[in-house]
C-alpha cells in the first residue's frame, strides 16, 4: 500500500512532536523512502523512527511505516550510511552476545537456573535485565519461585532486537534462535516466557518469519502470570499507579489487559492521556538513543510529564528498557511490574519509603 500523504500520522509521531520538522515525521519518512540523499537530515529521518507503530494505528489504511523503515535501514547499512553506533551494536551482539560492547560474566543467580534439567518453562530475561538492571530478572525469578514453577533460565545470546530494529540482517538473531530451540528440546519445556517486550516481539513473531519459529509457546511474563492471578495472592496497597504501555508489547503484540489486570490487584490504576494503543513511546525505541539522544530525552520527558499529570505515585511499566529510560528522566518513581509484584508478594515494602499494604 502506498502512502497518499494525507498527514493524519504526522502529529501523532513522538519525534515530530518534539522536532516539528516534516522530515522527521512518518509522512516525511515515507516521502524519502525511495530516495537516498547525502545529508545528515536524511540519515536522521530514517534513523529517528522509534518503530513505535503509533503512526500505523492512525493511518486510515494501516501502513506499517516502522516495517518500511527497518527495510530502508537495512539498505542504508549496506551502503555504510547508518550512524556508526549502529554498527558498533551489531558487532557487539555478534562478538560479545550482548549489545553493550563488552564481555560480561553471567551472574550467579542466572547460572543457578541453567537449563541442564527437564523443566516446564524457560525464562529468557533479555540483556538489560541480566547485565544492567538485575533486580528486574531477580524479581521475575522470585515470583516464579514463590509460585513453585518448574523453570530454567536461558540467557546466552542477545535476542537481536536492537540490531533487527535498526536494519541488521536476520543472521544476527540466529544464534539465539538455535540455542532456544536446543534448550526447548533438551528441557522438554512447553513455554518460553520473557519479561522484555523487546525480546518478546522478535522471539514470538520475527523468529517465525525469519527462521520458521520455535517449537513451543512464547509468552510475556504478564500473560503467564495472569493465568495464575489467584495463586499470586496479591494484596491491594494504598498506592495510585499509572501504567506505561511498552510499544512492542502493546501495539506490537496486542498485550494491553494482562499487565493492567495484575496492577489492579495491587494498586489503583490511573491512565495517562495517551494510553493503550495511543500510548506514547518512552523515547527509547528503534535504537534512537544510540545516535539521537537529545530527541530521545525530550520524548521521555514528555511521557514522564504525562505520568506526573495523572497524580499517580509511581509509573509502572513492563519493559526493562522503558523502565531504565523513564527512570533516568528523574521525574517520577518508576517500577517494573514484576519488581512491584515481587515486592508485594514478599511484603518487603511495608516501610514508608515504599508501598503500604492496605490492612
Amino acid at each position: 500500500m502506498e502512502c497518499v500523504r494525507c498527514g493524519i500520522c504526522v502529529e501523532g509521531c513522538p519525534v515530530f512532536m518534539v522536532t516539528k520538522w516534516e522530515t522527521f515525521s512518518p509522512r516525511g519518512r515515507m516521502i524519502l523512502l525511495e530516495k537516498i540523499f547525502d545529508d545528515d537530515s536524511f540519515k536522521k529521518s530514517i534513523f529517528t523512527c522509534l518503530t513505535c507503530g503509533r503512526c500505523s494505528i492512525l493511518c486510515p489504511i494501516g501502513i506499517e511505516v516502522y516495517d518500511r523503515m527497518e527495510k530502508k535501514r537495512k539498505k542504508l547499512r549496506k551502503l555504510n550510511l547508518a550512524p556508526p553506533r549502529y554498527y558498533f551494536i551489531s558487532n557487539s551482539i555478534r562478538k560479545f552476545k550482548n549489545p553493550f560492547g563488552k564481555e560480561f560474566k553471567k551472574p550467579d543467580f542466572i547460572l543457578k537456573y541453567s537449563p541442564t534439567k527437564k523443566a516446564d518453562v524457560i525464562y529468557y530475561p533479555g540483556c538489560t535485565s541480566v547485565y544492567r538492571e538485575i533486580t528486574l530478572s531477580k524479581s521475575v525469578i522470585d515470583v516464579l519461585e514463590r509460585l513453585k514453577i518448574d523453570f530454567v533460565v536461558e540467557h546466552e545470546y542477545c535476542c537481536g532486537s536492537t540490531a533487527l530494529r535498526t536494519g541488521d540482517d536476520a543472521e544476527v538473531a540466529e544464534p539465539n534462535f538455535k540455542k532456544l530451540q536446543y534448550v526447548i528440546e533438551k528441557t522438554g519445556a512447553k513455554t518460553i516466557i520473557t519479561s522484555c517486550p523487546g525480546c518478546y516481539k522478535p522471539i514470538k513473531s520475527s523468529y517465525d518469519k525469519l527462521f520458521g519459529g520455535l517449537s513451543c509457546d512464547v509468552m510475556h511474563v504478564s500473560q503467564f502470570l495472569v493465568d495464575k492471578i489467584d495463586e499470586l495472592k496479591l494484596k491491594k496497597t494504598d498506592k495510585i499507579v499509572t501504567y506505561h504501555d511498552p510499544c512492542h508489547l502493546g501495539r506490537g503484540m496486542n498485550v494491553y489487559h494482562e499487565p493492567r489486570a495484575l496492577i489492579n490487584k495491587i494498586a489503583d490504576l490511573v491512565e495517562m492521556k495517551n494510553t493503550m494503543k495511543n500510548s506514547l513511546c518512552c523515547g527509547g525505541g528503534g535504537g534512537i538513543r544510540i545516535a539521537y539522544k537529545e530527541i530521545s530525552n525530550e520524548i521521555r520527558r514528555k511521557r514522564a510529564k504525562e505520568a506526573l499529570k495523572t497524580g499517580a505515585d509511581m509509573l509502572v511499566t513492563s519493559c526493562p528498557y522503558c523502565y531504565l529510560n523513564l527512570k533516568r528522566a528523574n521525574m517520577i518513581e518508576v517500577k517494573d511490574l514484576f519488581q512491584l509484584i515481587s515486592e508485594v508478594m514478599s511484603e518487603t515494602i511495608r516501610d514508608n519509603n515504599h508501598i503500604k499494604i492496605k490492612e
Binding site: 494525507c6 498527514g7 545529508d39
Partner: protein
Amino acid sequence: MVRFDTFKTIIHEISAIVGEEDLSIHDSVCHTYSFDTSLHSGKAIGVARPESVEEICDILKIANKYRIPIIPRGFGTGNRGGAIPYNALVLDMLKFNSFSIDSKNLKLEAGAGALFSNIRKSLNSKNVFLPPEPDFDVCSIGGFVATAKSGRRTIKYGNIKDYVLGLDVVLPNGKFVELGSKNFKHSGFDVKDLFVGSEGSLGVITKAYFKILPKPKDFAVIMVNVENLKMGVELSIEILNEMLPTSIDYLDEFCSKALNMKGKLIAIELDSYTNVDREVEKIEELAKDYGNVEVHKGKKAEKFYVSLKSLNVRLKNFFKGFPVVEDFELPIVTIPFVCEEIKEVLEKNEIKHAFYCHLDSGVIHPIMFFEKESVRKYEMLLNDLCSIVKQHRGYIAGEYGIGIVKSKFLDINSLEIMKHIKKLLDPNNIMNPGKMGL
C-alpha cells in the same frame, strides 16, 4: 534561479533571522517539503521556520531584495498544488500554532499553523463550534483560510469566509497589517476578504480571528439506501423544499463500502438547538418511498462523520494508485447526468473512480485513482472534465482552491483583475508565484 554565491548570501541572511536550527537547505528536507496531496511535486530551495511576525517581515524584505519566491506552508494537506514550491523558499508556519477560544464572546483566534482538527476538539469541549469544516480536517488554519476551503454544512452555515472577522497579514513588502475589525460587523471596504482564498499570493497570513457559534444540542444522521444518484437528488430536493438540513451527502457503493456500509447511500445530517425529532420524522416519511431508512444519533453518527474525513484514503483499500479528488460545483438538478458524463469519460480512459457528492450545495467529488507518475494524463483528463462542468454552468473549483491544478480554467476577466491587485501588493511577484495563474 539565483546564482550560487547569491544563494549563499541569502541563506546566511535568513539564517541570521530565524537561527540556524530553523533553517534547512538539506536536499532531504527540501524534498519532504516539495509535496502536497496532489499528484504534483516541486522543489524547495530551503525551508525556514519563523516563530514571530517580525521574523516573517524580515524574511520578506530579504526575499524582495533578492527576488526569492516564498511559499507559506501549513500542514501540506492541500490537493491543488497551492503550497508546492518551485525553486522557492518554504515558510513553514507550524510554529504559529497557538489558539484561544473565547466562548463567552463567541470568538476564536488562531495562529496560521494551528491544526484545525485540534481546534475542533477544543471547541467541542467548550460547547462551541466553527461550522465550516473541510472534508479533510487535518489542515492548518492558515491553509484553511488561504484556500477558502469548505466541505459539508455550507448550505446551512455558509463557508469559512463568512466566519473570518479579521486577519493578521505580513504583506509582500514586509509590512505587518491587521485587517478586518475582529468584530461581527464591519462597514466599508473589507480588505481581509481579499486574503481569504488568496493562496499565499498576496502575503503571509499569520493569525486569523473567527466568529464561532454555540454547539447545537441535538444531532442525528439519517441514512437512506437509494437505487441511484438520480433518486438521491430527487429526495434531496424534496427535503430542501421542507427544511434546511445541516448537510446532505451522497456516497456511491465504493464510498459506502470504504466506510463499512453497503450500497448507494444518502446521509442527511440534522442539528438543532432544541431537538431534531420533528425533522427526523419528516425525513423518514419523505424517504420511505426511496429505500431503506436508518436513523443514527450520538456516537454512531459522530463516528460516521469522523470516518468520512478519511474517505479518499480508505478507498485505497479497493483501488490501486493515488487518489485525486475534484470539487466541481453544479446546479443540483444537473448532478445526475453530469456525473454520468464524467463517468463515461473516466471509463473510456480506464480510470478507476468513486463518487462522493454534497447534494445540498451541489458539489460533486469524483475520486479518481492515478499512477503516481501520471500528472500529464491527469491534466489532459481534467480538460475534458472541466469543459463538461462549464457546459452545464458549473464552477470548476468549489472547495479546494485553485493552486496550479485549476489555474488555467479561471475566467479570463477575473484573472485580469487578480493580476492588477497582485501587481499592486506584490510588484516583484515573490509570493507563491505561478499559482492561480499569477
